[in-house]
C-alpha cells in the first residue's frame, strides 16, 4: 500500500459507490492487473473497453470479490470489501452481477431464479418474493415467461432473466461482464435496450463490453484498459471519438474495422488503412503491444 493511496482513503463521500485503490491481481506468475485506481459515482455508467486479456473482466470480478485481489483495496459504499473481516455476503447483495454466459440456475424457473436469493438470503416471504420477482421480470419484458425454465428460452431472454434476477435483490449498483458477448447478433438489441432503460433510471453501472455503439451512447465515462492498467479514460466522445493514446487508437481501429489485420511491419503511426486483406479464418495476428 503506497502512502498516496493511503491518504486517499476513505473519502467518506456517499456519492462514491465503488472506490478502487492500487489494485493488483496475479494468477501465478501472470500479472493481470498492475495498479488500478478507479472511483465510480452514484448514478454513473462506466463502460470498460479493451482487448481480450487486458484484465477488464478481472477488474470487475475483483469489485465483488469473485476474484481475491493480490494487493490493493476496494470499497463498496465506503465499506471495505477487501477487509478480511468484511461481511462479503452482505456487500454482494448490494451489487447485482450479470455474467457473459448468463449462469441462470437451470433447475429453477425464471421466476424462481429471481426469488431464490430473496427467500434464502433476505428471508423474504414466498408471496412477497414472488411479487418482487414478477415485477422485475416485467421490467425486462418477460412478465409472461415466469414459469419457463432457462433452457426453454433464447439466449437473449436468458440474459434478461439474469438481469431481472440481479435487480430483484434491489442492488445499489450493477456489474455487467460482457453481457452480450455470448449472444447471437439479432438478440443483442433486446438486452442492450434493457440496460439502456436501467441507465436512464439512474442505476450505477459498471459495464465491461465490446459494444462500442452502446458505450458511446450510454456511458458517462469510458475506460480503456490494456496490459492490466487504465490507459485512458474520459467521456465517450473523447475516448472513442478522438482517443489521445496510440494504444487506444490501435484497439479501436481493430474493433471498428474487423477486416483490418495488423501485420508486424504495419507501423501503427501510419494510421492510414492497409489494403483490404482476405477474411481471416484463424486467430488474427496480434501486434506485439498486446503480448503482455
Amino acid at each position: 500500500m503506497s502512502v498516496t493511496a493511503e491518504q486517499k482513503i476513505p473519502t467518506g463521500n456517499r456519492e462514491d459507490e465503488i472506490q478502487i485503490y492500487d489494485l493488483h491481481k496475479s494468477f501465478g506468475d501472470l500479472e493481470v492487473l498492475t495498479g488500478i485506481d478507479l472511483t465510480v459515482h452514484r448514478g454513473e455508467v462506466v463502460c470498460v473497453i479493451g482487448p481480450s486479456g487486458s484484465g477488464k473482466s478481472t477488474l470487475l470480478r475483483c469489485v465483488n470479490l469473485l476474484e481475491q485481489p493480490t494487493k490493493g483495496r476496494v470499497f463498496i459504499l465506503n465499506e471495505e470489501i477487501t477487509d478480511p473481516d468484511a461481511d462479503v455476503d452482505h456487500l454482494r447483495t448490494l451489487m447485482g452481477m450479470v455474467f457473459q454466459s448468463f449462469n441462470l440456475f437451470p433447475h429453477l424457473t425464471a421466476l424462481e431464479n429471481c426469488t431464490v436469493a430473496l427467500t434464502q438470503v433476505k428471508r423474504m416471504s414466498a408471496a412477497q418474493a414472488r411479487e418482487v420477482g414478477m415485477e422485475n421480470l416485467h421490467k425486462v419484458g418477460l412478465g409472461d415467461r415466469g414459469d419457463s425454465y432457462p433452457l426453454q428460452m433464447s439466449g437473449g431472454q436468458q440474459q434478461r432473466v439474469a438481469i431481472a434476477r440481479a435487480l430483484s435483490m434491489d442492488p445499489e449498483l450493477m456489474l455487467f461482464d460482457e453481457p452480450t458477448s455470448a449472444l447471437d447478433p439479432e438478440l443483442v438489441g433486446d438486452v442492450l435496450s434493457v440496460m439502456r432503460d436501467l441507465a436512464a433510471g439512474g442505476m450505477t453501472m459498471m459495464v465491461v463490453t465490446h459494444e462500442m455503439a452502446f458505450a458511446r451512447e450510454v456511458a458517462d465515462r469510458v475506460i480503456f484498459m490494456d496490459g492490466g492498467v487504465i490507459v485512458e479514460q474520459g467521456p465517450p466522445s473523447e475516448v472513442i471519438g478522438s482517443p489521445k493514446e496510440e494504444r487506444t487508437r490501435t484497439f479501436l481501429r481493430r474493433v471498428l474495422d474487423p477486416t483490418h489485420v495488423e501485420t508486424p511491419d504495419d507501423e501503427p503511426s501510419k494510421g492510414q488503412s492497409t489494403p483490404p486483406e482476405p477474411p481471416v479464418t484463424g486467430r488474427p495476428h496480434r501486434p506485439a503491444i498486446f503480448g503482455h
Binding site: R92, G96, N103
Partner: protein, 274 residues
C-alpha cells in the same frame, strides 16, 4: 488369362448395398439353422418339466414368495439409502479443502471397491463373534444394510463427486454474487443439479444393488429373512426342480426392468436438454 483376373472384376461389380443384402441373408439363414437345431434336438416337454413345472410354479407362488420379494426389496432399499448418504458424505470429503478428509475418503473408496461384497457381508455377519457385546439392530436387515451400504457408498461417492464437479463453476459464482454463503450455494444450487446429473448412474447402481442383495444368503438366517435367491434355491433343493429358481429370477426382472427402462428415459431426457 488367369483365374484371378477373371474373378476380380466380378467381385468389384458387387455394390455395397448388394453386399449388405447378402450379409443380411446369411444372418437370417444362421438364425433359421439355430432354431431348427433347437426344435429337433431339444425336448420341449422335458425342459418345461425341469424349469417351468406348473405345479411347482403354483407352489413357489403360494408358499412364501411375497415375503422373499419384500425382503429383497427391503435389503436393497435400505442399503441404497445407506450408500447414498455415505456416498454424498464421501464425495464432499473428497472435494474438501482439508487434506486428511480427502485421504480418508480415498482410502475408504479404494478399500471397499477392491474387496468382494461377499467378504464384507460375511465379516459383518460374524462380527458378533469378535465383539461379543455387539448387536446390530434389526437383524438381519441391519447387517445387510450396513455391509452392502458400506460397499455401495464407495461406488456411489465417485459418481456423486463427478456429478458435483460437472456443475459449472459459474453456478457457484452466480449464487455467491447474489449474496449466498458457500454452504447455502452448495445446498440450494450445486447439489440439486449434481443429483439431477447422477440420477441415471445412481439408478444403475440400484439395479446392481438389487442383484447383490442375493448375497445376503451367506448370513444363514431364518426363513423370515430369506431373500428371493435363497428362497428359490431352498425350494429347488427340496423338490429337485429348477422351477422355483427360475421364478426367483423372473422376480428380479420385475424389479430391475422398470428401473433400466427409467434410466433410458432419463438419459434420453438429459441428452435432449443439452
Amino acid at each position: 488369362m488367369t483365374a484371378t483376373t477373371v474373378e476380380t472384376p466380378r467381385k468389384k461389380k458387387l455394390s455395397p448395398r448388394k453386399r449388405a443384402r447378402r450379409m443380411r441373408i446369411v444372418q437370417y439363414g444362421a438364425l433359421v439353422v439355430l432354431l431348427l437345431i433347437g426344435v429337433l434336438f431339444i425336448d420341449g416337454h422335458q425342459v418345461q418339466q425341469v424349469f417351468f413345472r406348473p405345479d411347482m410354479i403354483a407352489k413357489t407362488l403360494t408358499s412364501n414368495l411375497p415375503l422373499a420379494f419384500f425382503n429383497t426389496v427391503a435389503f436393497t432399499a435400505g442399503a441404497f439409502v445407506f450408500g447414498l448418504v455415505g456416498g454424498t458424505v464421501l464425495a464432499l470429503m473428497k472435494l474438501s479443502q482439508v487434506g486428511p478428509y480427502r485421504w480418508l475418503a480415498t482410502i475408504y473408496v479404494e478399500f471397499f471397491r477392491g474387496v468382494p461384497a461377499l467378504i464384507v457381508l460375511l465379516t459383518f455377519g460374524l462380527l458378533p463373534l469378535a465383539l461379543p457385546g455387539l448387536k446390530i439392530p434389526l437383524d438381519p436387515y441391519g447387517t445387510v444394510w450396513t455391509a452392502l451400504g458400506l460397499v455401495s457408498a464407495a461406488y456411489m461417492s465417485e459418481t456423486i463427486r463427478a456429478g458435483i464437479q460437472a456443475v459449472p463453476k459459474g453456478q457457484i459464482e452466480a449464487a455467491r454474487s447474489l449474496g449466498m454463503p458457500a454452504g447455502m450455494a452448495t445446498r440450494k444450487i450445486v447439489l440439486p443439479q449434481a443429483f439431477r446429473i447422477v440420477l441415471p448412474p445412481l439408478t444403475n447402481e440400484l439395479v446392481l444393488l438389487t442383484k447383490d442383495s442375493s448375497l445376503a444368503y451367506v448370513l444363514g438366517m431364518t426363513v423370515q429373512g430369506y431373500d428371493l435367491t435363497k428362497y428359490g434355491k431352498d425350494l429347488t433343493n427340496t423338490h429337485s426342480n429348477l422351477t422355483p429358481l427360475m421364478m426367483a429370477g423372473l422376480c428380479y426382472l420385475v424389479i430391475t426392468l422398470p428401473l433400466t427402462f427409467l434410466v433410458r428415459k432419463m438419459e434420453a431426457r438429459q441428452a435432449r436438454s443439452k
